[in-house]
């Protein structure tokens, strides 16, 4: 690639002059400017952003750390973050952790080394030391989809999501409710809270259980349901809430294989309202997160904190919305 020095040599001017032309400094004569720009175009010279970033102490890079880019919600989020960053002159440095906290820790270190201007992270484990330590990081950092004390965050209330599903299930006349996911998930807390209030007992054995930060994938859901059915013989429930849409679909597929009809025998609802929910059959009742607002708000927090390093923590929690589709409707 051609350098600024070479352009200067070809145009017969000093390197400082080329720099002034590129940075639109007024002190260059029109004739020189035209000559330099001709060389710039002819040799397709591209200014080195890395060099510029050293001078300006700004890298125009935003670090993005996700557990799994193939999850439709995260793909969606990445798409919006990329387009919003680019239109503001930033690029995304992307890191996929696969849910591995060591990989996440390394990512944070490289991001510091690369002097990214901001970090957006969906942590693999909220209790990891390097996540808690983010409150002391001197790079504007926003936690996505979770809330953590003393660190900026943008999320959706998972507790409210559980409440919405509980109310919907009750309204449809379901009383025996099951759950797929972690027992510590606030979606389950929300679900239980409403059931409790309405005097409906939630049986803990109706949880297809995941450890708190275990990846909930299509494959593991199938396995766990099969294990459950082998152990208990049947699922004694009439409605099931899965902690994400793909888990809900894996459950549907698996339960159908065991002869259950959805929603005839078991109603199912998911979380995320990803395109899975409306593109597959049966169409899935799900809870939607405002993905575009989450992405934009998180970036705006970074841009704001870059300019103005105030210490005040910003925690934005969006309210989710229930989208009712056929998978959870009471058959008449």
């Amino acid at each position: 690639m051609i350098t600024m020095d070479e352009i200067a040599e070809i145009a017969g001017v000093s390197q400082a002059t080329v720099s002034r032309v590129i940075n639109n400094h007024p002190s260059v004569s029109l004739k020189t400017r035209l000559a330099v720009m001709e060389c710039v175009r002819k040799f397709n010279y591209q200014p080195n952003i890395t060099a510029q970033s050293l001078v300006r102490q700004q890298s125009f890079l935003i670090g993005l750390i996700l557990p799994n880019i193939t999850v439709p919600f995260f793909a969606n989020l990445t798409n919006i973050i990329d387009s919003e960053s680019c239109s503001n002159g930033y690029n995304i440095v992307f890191h996929n952790t696969g849910g591995n906290i060591q990989s996440e820790k390394e990512a944070l270190n490289t991001f510091k080394n690369r002097r990214v201007d901001g970090i957006l992270i969906v942590p693999a484990n909220l209790h990891a030391k390097h996540i808690i330590d983010l409150k002391n990081i001197n790079i504007p950092t926003v936690i996505l989809t979770h809330t953590l004390k003393d660190i900026d965050s943008v999320s959706t209330s998972h507790c409210a999501a559980g409440e919405l599903i509980a109310k919907h299930f009750i309204q449809q006349g379901y009383r025996k409710i099951g759950y797929i996911g972690s027992a510590n998930d606030s979606k389950l807390q929300g679900l239980k809270k409403i059931l409790n209030r309405e005097g409906i007992q939630f049986e803990d054995r109706n949880i297809i259980h995941y450890n708190e930060f275990e990846q909930v994938s299509a494959h593991t859901v199938k396995q766990k349901i099969e294990n459950y059915l082998n152990q208990f013989g049947k699922l004694d429930i009439d409605a099931l809430f899965a902690c994400n849409d793909s888990a809900a679909f894996s459950a549907i597929k698996c339960l159908e294989k065991f002869g259950y009809k959805i929603p005839g025998n078991i109603a199912i609802a998911g979380f995320g309202n990803t395109y899975l929910a409306y593109e597959l059959k049966p169409e899935l009742t799900s809870v939607t997160q405002p993905v575009s607002e989450i992405a934009k708000t998180a970036l705006n927090i970074i841009f704001k904190k870059m300019k103005n390093r105030d210490k005040e923590t910003i925690n934005i929690v969006y309210k989710p919305k229930l989208i009712i589709r056929e998978s959870s409707l009471r058959r008449k």
Binding site: N68, A218, S246, L276
Partner: protein
């Protein structure tokens, strides 16, 4: 952020000594080295990768551009690219072109300005100028998911994929065959060609046009719905769609109309994304070895970056596989 000078001052050494410790070259006594590392920890010092990259003329960054990250096919490829790159100490700058050639050009310029060490791109169109400039300007690049002469590329034979579906339909004894997608697509061309060999014509009234740039599912859903108003379409026996999303759009429209899949119509997709496995009925599709694409693409680019010699461009074409599921159980073969 603390600088190298701050460390030098605190440790009572020169910044050249600090540099030697960071870069692991030159002689530094063990005592000094430990002292310097302690100071780095105490001050929470991180070497400036941007400065290092300028000095070494290497950024340890790879640029990746894909047309649509929301398509799980590209999500899975990016995941594998990231994994292999991270494993080798490289970072990824990710860009989505939204299937828009102008956006692609802009983002490619941005990546070039950043002096990334190499570029992996799934181009919107193969023959655009900004792609060929990568070659003229000697920027290590690998074209992914497509095959491009003069470039290193890693792709999957769409020809074989389309032929596998054609052969599958023929084996099932299906004759009234349709296609969802664009006619300029190599999948359409090879599909049609193989059918022709068996004297089966891909008739216009079974063809459903679908660009699939933004939302292939909805586009093919509506296009199929429209087609269903056309009497001559209704006796269609099998449909091949250019990707899984489009296939599912067609399946949904056919089901809404009252058709049973596969009893009335067999439908096959392409890409074998997890959607194909999760949908009901399970969708017959063409499996592309996505894990291999991402990994091999990174391996090639690292070779291009690190090799001092010019390497002759390689065009690796992987062979896809037919994955049969419920959506194409032929009329005669049904249980």
């Amino acid at each position: 952020m603390p600088t190298m000078q701050d460390i030098a001052k605190k440790a009572g050494v020169s910044s050249a000594t600090v540099s030697r410790v960071i870069n692991g070259n030159g002689k530094v006594s063990e005592k000094k080295r430990i002292k310097i590392i302690e100071c780095m920890k105490a001050l929470n010092y991180h070497p400036n990768a941007a400065a290092q990259s300028l000095a070494r003329n290497q950024s340890f960054l790879l640029g990746v551009i894909v047309p649509n990250i929301k398509n799980p096919f590209f999500g899975e490829i990016l995941e594998n690219i990231a994994r292999t790159a991270q494993y080798n100490g490289y970072g990824i700058i990710f860009c989505n072109s939204d299937n828009d050639i102008n956006k692609e050009k802009k983002k490619l310029d941005l990546l070039r300005n950043r002096h990334v060490d190499g570029i992996l791109i799934a181009p919107v169109e193969k023959n655009s100028d900004h792609i060929s400039y990568l070659k003229t300007d000697n920027i290590p690049s690998v074209i992914i998911t497509q095959d491009l002469k003069g470039f290193d590329s890693i792709s999957i034979s769409h020809i074989t994929g389309a032929e596998l579906i054609a052969q599958h339909f023929i084996d099932l004894g299906l004759k009234k065959i349709g296609y969802v997608g664009l006619k300029k697509d190599i999948k359409y061309i090879s599909f049609k060609k193989l059918l022709n060999k068996f004297n089966i014509e891909l008739k216009e009234h079974y063809y459903i046009s679908c660009k699939g740039r933004q939302n292939a599912f909805l586009e093919s859903y509506y296009a199929t719905q429209k087609k269903l108003k056309d009497e001559s379409f209704l006796d269609v026996e099998a449909i091949f769609a250019f990707n899984d999303l489009a296939a599912l759009g067609t399946v949904t429209a056919l089901k809404d109309y009252g058709f049973k899949i596969p009893e009335n119509v067999s439908v096959a997709g392409f890409d074998n994304t997890f959607l194909a496995a999760e949908s009901t009925p399970g969708l017959t599709s063409i499996a592309q070895p996505v894990d291999d694409i991402g990994r091999i693409a990174v391996e090639i680019i690292l070779e291009l970056i690190t090799s001092k010699k010019t390497i002759k461009p390689k065009n690796i074409i992987l062979q896809p596989k037919l994955v049969e599921r419920e959506s194409t159980l032929g009329v005669n073969n049904s249980i």
